[in-house]
Subunit: 344 residues, 2 copies
């Protein structure tokens, strides 16, 4: 088992080091070969680090940063003033080879822009996409992209996302000839936007892609496709709609009220167990971490509001991506999957 | 109680008269003052009409149509050849004043195009929008538009949707000064698409609109806003995502397995009742029927896959819209809410 180093933007997200440091400790306890660069305000990070386990601390390196990228910042402005920020330094650690992957819960637009700038897209890729693997009915999984890295996408970008998504499904989910669909507002040929219809026309004749056509929102978690492609605006709204609804549905089964009689609490406990068995696979906490696909290195975006357990899931995604050599395998497959003119 | 006449496109939707006729009978039984024009193939419609209740049948008029608009049809082509179709005739009955509203489960794009052509938009309205009232937490309701009538919208259209949505919330939900939000991929000023930011800038200073800013997908059913505005593509995908997820969640509570032991079935029954009490308000069956807002008359679009009970809910929406004089009240409020140049 080789050593593996990850850089964490510890100041990112709604909670900064209060969540990032415990998440790092959780990941270290699960992976004896893991080393973590914690990038942020050293004093703040130290206050969340326990002193009792020096070995674990031996696998943590604190890296001081001077600033934090604001969640509300406009990407173009923020990128210009990003040098010295925790996000910039974490990405630089990947660029210079000291870390194999970067995890951040920060501003998506800035993370996308800085990653492109510092780590560069794979040859032939116009724009990296934010991708996640969603759970679906009957133990299936669906690769969905873009989830917000590119608000608007033309047909060429959608085609590239389809190619990258299919390669990801092949390499990480072990699906041979994965089904690829475009998210649309109808299943019929004439439905939707021009750019989606144009992408559909190309994907239909694409040798490497098992294109199954359009899918509508109501089929999102049904497992009818292995890869679902859409622009970043729609993907982001859709993913967040799913999360919001799941939170509404799972909330009653997570609460324990002490005011109720014992039999009601017992029934509640049984109900929660049963619900968790039926729907637990949909719990948003379990699938935190979207990968910026199409870069030469691995960058994972955690949900801004993630708690420690959920942030640790994003770190786990980074570890899996490193161990499965995702960028290398995508680069290898891309050369045959993209039209010749796109390889440079 | 005045007589009230509705025209039904009885050939529309996935099931045609098999659903539309029983839905019409259901609506007639609930409204003694209702008269319905059933437009479609007379023989087919007659086969679903029982002979035992002549009074009820006295309130049905069958109108023969020669063709049906295909669900898969491209709107521009279908509209050119729409004369004589059940949808065209149903809308014509509204145009000539014989019916007060039209209900169809047919092709959304064609329904939108034909409605604009035959019934015309209200003065100052560029494009009508498909609007629905969604249930939200704590007995709240949210008016959401556009749901698919206009795949792409510029900022002016979004502003008009905000104005029309606010008037609908005032008149039908009795909300004084309803909160209006734009659906976006972040709450911060700089997030999202240019057209959304442009609409936000105008709505912020709009005298008649209580604009509360951006809302994200995860807040859709939380009741944080009374009116939620988005383009038709995003609205349609979002609504269908909600429907799909609700179906996944509500499915286990609707099924009754006879293979299970009695105590398990009893527990299941209790569970279903309890779930229906907690989440029943979200059942998609209960909120079928989206209104084409911004026309001079009332057009309701039913879900294509609606069953008879659900189609009857869409008819009920039409009745409510007629009784509440929605187009007239919107026309009245629009003259003061839209910029002067838009009133003609």
């Amino acid at each position: 088992m080789n050593n593996l180093t990850i850089a964490l933007d510890a100041m990112s997200g709604d909670f900064g080091p209060r969540v990032a440091v415990p998440a790092a400790l959780l990941a270290l306890s699960q992976h004896p070969n893991l080393h973590i660069f914690l990038v942020g305000n050293t004093d703040e990070m130290l206050s969340y680090l326990p002193k009792k386990d020096p070995e674990q601390q031996g696998r943590i390196t604190l890296v001081e940063s001077k600033s934090v990228i604001d969640n509300d910042a406009k990407p173009s402005t923020a990128i210009r003033h990003s040098k010295g920020s925790s996000m910039y330094i974490a990405l630089e650690l990947v660029k210079c080879g000291k870390a194999k992957a970067c995890v951040s819960a920060g501003n998506t637009g800035v993370l996308m822009g800085l990653s492109k700038l510092l780590l560069r897209p794979l040859p032939g890729i116009y724009r990296p996409a934010l991708v996640a693997v969603l759970p679906a009915l009957n133990q299936q999984k669906t690769v969905i992209l873009d989830l917000g890295a590119n608000s608007e996408c033309d047909s060429d970008m959608l085609i590239q996302f389809a190619v990258m998504g299919a390669i990801l499904a092949e390499t990480t989910l072990d699906i041979t000839h994965p089904r690829v669909a475009l998210l649309n507002i109808g299943e019929e040929e004439a439905k939707g936007l021009d750019r989606i219809r144009a992408a559909s026309a190309v994907l239909k004749t694409h040798e490497r892609i098992n294109f199954i056509g359009y899918l509508e929102g109501n089929e999102l978690l049904t497992g009818k496709t292995d890869v679902l492609v859409c622009d970043g605006f729609v993907g982001n709204v859709t993913l967040k709609t799913v999360e919001g609804l799941l939170n509404i549905f799972l909330a009653p089964f997570k609460l324990t009220s002490k005011r109720k009689p014992w039999w009601s609490r017992l029934l509640g406990l049984w109900l929660r167990r049963s619900m968790s068995k039926t729907f637990g696979y949909l719990d948003p906490e379990q699938y935190n971490g979207a990968c910026l696909l199409g870069l030469r290195s691995i960058v994972i975006k955690s949900h801004g509001s993630a708690g420690a357990k959920s942030f640790a899931v994003a770190i786990e995604q980074a570890i899996q991506a490193v161990e499965k050599h995702i960028p290398e395998r995508i680069a290898l497959s891309l050369s045959s999957a993209l039209p010749k003119s796109e390889n440079n």
